[in-house]
């Protein structure tokens, strides 16, 4: 009796979870259907699995180029965020001065500023730098990476700061007495110990940067520079009525996310949980 009820519960729970994801099923099955089939029954499996809409959507979205841009921007931004914010956080924790406190508090306080408050002056400033100093900040992927680092600095420093505070200082002191430089101490001793929080910082930043739309839409003007959210946006602007093509396009954009999730599922859920508790 007890066993059947527990099996029933298991089945019900998984059904609930699958029902929850039904919109993904819906766009997937409809990405193979022609117009008539779609209107006959939007929920049924398609008659045949032809990839013609995928090929067409890939071409119209310039999908491979967008995927490349998204990967490049996300990976370089996240690597630099990890390096710079862990170094900064470590120094702030280990230097006992009022400047450390002021800097740390400034990082924390700015977490409350919405992006909309910064976007216009930021764009003015970036195009001013581009024009007057000839540093290409505006309309380049590298400029966007620079801005990504700035916007994600606060949260990353905050997470590292909390974690580093719990590491005993004695280890570092021993290494310093042995004559290692600060640089050596940090990279050889401290950074490896930060692994759990580095995973959290990386995951939170990957999700946020990969999916970001507004900032790239303001900075990247050239079509060749578009990221996945940007190319999806313009794709929908042009082909709103052609739903089957749109469904294939949406499925394409979700595939990299599913691959990422399948590979790092445990770390992601753990990382999110830990990030929130801090």
């Amino acid at each position: 009796m007890r066993k059947t009820s527990s099996i029933l519960k298991s089945v019900l729970l998984i059904l609930l979870a699958l029902f929850f994801l039904s919109p993904i099923y819906i766009i997937f099955v409809n990405s193979f259907k022609d117009r008539q089939e779609l209107y006959d029954n939007a929920l049924a499996l398609p008659d045949n699995f032809s990839f013609q809409y995928y090929l067409e959507a890939m071409e119209k979205m310039n999908f491979l180029s967008a995927l490349g841009n998204s990967l490049y921007i996300t990976i370089v931004s996240v690597v630099l965020i990890v390096i710079l914010s862990s170094m900064t956080a470590w120094m702030l924790v280990r230097t006992d001065s009022k400047w450390s406190t002021v800097i740390f508090m400034t990082f924390i306080a700015t977490m409350l500023i919405p992006f909309q408050t910064l976007m216009m002056p930021l764009m003015q400033f970036m195009s001013a730098i581009t024009e007057n100093l000839n540093i290409p900040m505006y309309n380049t992927r590298e400029g966007l990476i620079f801005m990504n680092i700035g916007f994600h600095a606060s949260l990353s420093v905050f997470l590292y700061h909390g974690f580093i505070k719990s590491i005993p200082i004695t280890l570092e002191e021993a290494a310093t007495i042995d004559g290692a430089s600060k640089f050596g101490v940090f990279w050889r001793i401290i950074f490896p110990m930060l692994k759990p929080i580095t995973a959290t910082v990386m995951i939170l930043n990957v999700i946020s940067i990969w999916n970001d739309f507004l900032l790239p839409s303001l900075t990247l003007i050239d079509t060749a520079l578009r990221t996945i959210p940007l190319s999806t946006f313009f794709f929908f602007g042009e082909f709103t009525i052609q739903w089957n093509l749109a469904m294939a396009g949406l499925t394409l954009t979700i595939i990299p996310v599913i691959i990422f999730y399948a590979m790092a599922q445990k770390h992601i859920i753990k990382g999110i949980g830990e990030g929130a508790v801090k």
């Binding site: 527990s6 409350l112 216009m120 620079f146 640089f183 929908f236 996310v257 929130a276 508790v277």
Partner: protein, 291 residues
């Protein structure tokens, strides 16, 4: 000499990030405050006219702005409730001793990974085509119709999609909170004869206050600042009925080229976000119980 050496290392480690952060966040923030006192159309060659606090006074006569403020408040209240109720329910389900709990947790979290812009497009299709189809098949056309053409239901549609996106994320935070509750406390209550409901309301829930503080903070601030889902699901329509705060600011600045006036809105936006989130954290922190 050692102090000098220490300073050198301090600067070497912190200056790169502080430099970037200053250029990207601090300077634009200060310049933004400055811009909000001017009237300007965003074209460099055209003059910026100093108008003092006029922009901030004018705001209260801008009906679309006031309306978007009200809609955003309504949207935020509804979503914070639905996301936290559903997220907590999910968390309780997947932490119970059910075999498929881990698989269910994995699936429920997934929407959060897909960005808001893409989620909005997915649900646009569901509302426009699948809902109409379901309405025809089931005859329940009071529930299943294209929500996005009705001003009121379009806003509910936003709440619906945003809940779908965030519930799994908030679930993870509640799971962390539930797992931090020592098992013996719950077991002791069980032995004392407390029912499941009593155990939840008297033990689990009060001990979840820290998780609630974080969840409320995250849902409150992200709901209030919502933009991507708003843009792709409804685009602010029908007839501006779902133009929320962030979109109103974007439209004012980049749509109508009222850079100064729009920036004043953006500053007010910041003040409201800061006030709401700080008040919430302060109030729920007070209610956290120490173990």
């Amino acid at each position: 000499m050692p102090n000098r050496n220490k300073l050198k290392w301090f600067l070497l480690f912190t200056v790169p990030l502080i430099f970037i952060f200053t250029i990207v966040v601090l300077i634009p923030f200060l310049v933004g405050i400055y811009y909000s006192f001017f009237e300007w159309d965003g074209i460099g060659a055209n003059p910026k006219v100093f108008v003092g606090l006029d922009n901030f006074v004018e705001l209260w006569g801008d009906n679309q702005f006031l309306r978007s403020m009200w809609l955003t408040t309504l949207f935020t209240v509804l979503s914070v409730i639905t996301i936290n109720v559903i997220g907590l329910a999910f968390a309780l389900l997947v932490t119970s001793r059910i075999q498929t709990a881990n698989a269910a947790r994995t699936l429920l979290f997934m929407p959060y990974l897909i960005g808001g812009l893409i989620l909005g497009y997915i649900w646009q299709f569901v509302f426009v085509d699948v809902f109409s189809f379901l309405g025809e098949v089931t005859g329940l056309d009071q529930v299943f119709f294209n929500w996005l053409v009705d001003p009121q239901f379009a806003l509910y549609g936003l709440v619906f999609v945003f809940t779908w996106q965030m519930a799994g994320y908030i679930m993870i935070i509640y799971i962390a909170g539930i797992q931090a509750i020592p098992n013996d406390v719950v077991e002791a209550a069980k032995i004392d004869g407390a029912s499941t409901w009593q155990r939840f309301t008297r033990i689990t829930f009060p001990l979840l206050m820290p998780a609630l503080t974080i969840s409320l903070f995250l849902t409150l601030s992200s709901a209030f600042k919502i933009y991507d889902v708003n843009l792709s699901l409804t685009g602010g329509g029908p007839a501006n009925a779902t133009e929320l705060f962030a979109m109103n600011i974007y439209q004012e600045i980049f749509g109508s080229s009222n850079y100064g006036f729009g920036q004043a809105k953006a500053i007010v936006f910041f003040l409201i976000v800061a006030a709401i989130t700080l008040t919430q954290v302060y109030m729920t922190k007070k209610r956290e119980v120490e173990m």
